[in-house]
Amino acid sequence: MRVAFGEGLLELGSENEDLVVLTADVARPTHVIGFGERFPHRFLDVGIAEQDMVDIAAGLALSEKVPVAVAFAPFMMRAWEQVRSTIARCSLNVKLVGTHAGLSASDEGASHQSLEDVALMRVLPNMTVVVPGDREEVKEATRAIVESKGPAYMRIGRDEDANFLHEGFRLGRATVLRDGCDVAVFSNGYITSEVLAAAEGAPVDAMVVHVPTVKPLDSDTVISAVRRTGAAVCVEEHSIIGGLGSAVSELVSTEYPVHIRRMGVSDTFGESGTYRELLDKHRLSAPHIREAMVEAAKRRGKR
């Protein structure tokens, strides 16, 4: 994911002279180093100072530049108040990218895993929140947020490399990857590839809906999916509080209430382990998702 992001930035950098990339001593692991080498005058490594980085980005945006500030997702949250008070409040054209998101920092443990960032960014007015999951989609989402006006947050994982999309990313649009009538499964990020694996050969007919834009949520697609299926599962590499599952529940509970099962990290911190072990432990791998699909489908139509 990081590699695709770095490539995407390079492409955009040669097209848009106003693009400026900032990072906080993580140029190498976030793969923005390529941009820095190619466009040294439009690149700033502020050192280990996320709050400074985010407000420098604000100043650049106030001077008509298009800054992309990149850090590890958990440490971008350190600058959340700056994002709130300055960037979101004035709808500044700053793009924030958190890498190593979700459980993907795996072996580094809880300090480096970010299970709250979607909730924190989603609650901010004016903020667009994007969680792409497929290699090409990461590139396209990077382009989409850079080309859109206003603040945006994109979270990507560390090492996982998925390729499950056949059509391009469009900001604010969810994509039905597999049709089905027993249960709708909403997911984003890498986890969508686990959902697809779970749906294949499942004893229920699951509709798989990939929702890379958490905000603004594609309400038409979400509502038509729950209308068709009558039950839903939401799966994400994030706390079950405040992320995609919450966004879908908030919408569905008012527009077309059906049973929703939210899967994510259950209000707890992560720990060290391999990425696979962590997904299993938090019941986010295909077998667990399949189980949840079956359970949710049983409650179909019962309100």
């Binding site: 985010v54 530049k65 800054p67 700056q82 409040r89």
Partner: protein
């Protein structure tokens, strides 16, 4: 040759006189605002001459074209002094002075703390410690564009408690941003107490110097000195920090050098006394 210099001096002193007249207008506007609404008047008065000198004499800006790209920019990092910024902007012609009466009222363009909806406000603030970083972004953007636009950031001395201030001081010095000027309103007070009681700031000057800033120390109420140091800042080859020694509540004796006016709505008697004092001082000037 000497004739030219004298002429320049004359023009300069006339300019300074004009600034002083406008400063009296701004003081009056501030007192008017404080008579109808609780206002951070103490910390507004401490930096009044600094902001006024910037807008009325030093900065290149265009009130009729607030978004002019080549303008110099000003960031009021100590956002609670918003009323004085608004009074200066109104005096400069960014919006009608009558609008000052709407300060902090519902649907007003004049928010409690600076917000981009106010014509002339270059950056939002209110949450302390962020202005230097924002200024760095603006100063970088000016350099990328090859613009000679300069960026002025005003922070409070209490604000220097914020860690981000020191992050950004390091960054600006590292980048040798010679188009960035920091002014510290050293009024010696913060919300809870005197600054040195809450958390020691001294030796402020050597801290700034050791962070790589060309540092000056002036009387922040002396317009001539403010102009002189801002002129010197234009010749620097690194970012410049100016410690402006000021008095909270300057100009209104019952507020001076105290925390009484940290946030205050003047009573009728206080309002009359303040106006009377300003008029007395105007006569003596």
């Amino acid at each position: 040759m000497s004739g030219t210099v004298e002429l320049a001096d004359l023009k300069h002193s006339t300019d300074v006189q004009k600034v002083k007249e406008r400063i009296r207008q701004v003081q009056r506007s501030l007192v008017e605002m404080t008579s109808s609404m609780g206002v951070h008047i103490g910390s507004s008065l401490s930096c009044l001459e600094i902001i006024a000198t910037l807008y009325f004499l030093k900065m290149r800006h265009a009130p009729h074209r607030p978004q002019w790209r080549e303008r110099d920019k000003f960031i009021l990092s100590k956002g609670h002094a918003a009323p004085v910024l608004y009074a200066v902007l109104a005096e400069a012609g960014y919006f009608p002075k009558e609008e000052l009466r709407t300060l902090k009222r519902i649907n007003s363009r004049l928010q409690g703390h600076p917000d981009l909806r106010t014509p002339g406000v270059d950056a939002p603030s209110g949450s302390l410690g962020q202005g230097i970083s924002i200024g760095i972004g603006m100063a970088m953007a000016a350099k990328m564009r090859g613009s000679r636009s300069r960026v002025y950031v005003l922070v409070g001395d209490g604000e220097c408690d914020e860690g981000q201030v020191w992050e950004s001081l390091m960054t600006a010095a590292h980048l040798r941003l010679d188009n960035l000027v920091l002014i510290i309103d050293r009024n010696g007070w913060q919300l809870d107490d005197r600054t040195e009681e809450v958390k020691r700031k001294v030796p402020l000057r050597s801290k700034l110097e050791s962070f790589g800033w060309e540092t000056y120390s002036i009387n922040g109420h002396d317009v001539e000195k403010i102009v002189e140091v801002l002129d010197a800042a234009e010749r620097a080859e690194q970012p410049v920090a100016i410690i402006a020694h000021t008095k909270k509540g300057k100009g209104i004796s019952f507020l001076e050098d105290s925390n009484k006016g940290h946030k205050l709505k003047l009573s009728e008697d206080e309002y009359l006394a303040a106006i009377k004092e300003l008029e007395m001082r105007a006569k003596c000037a």
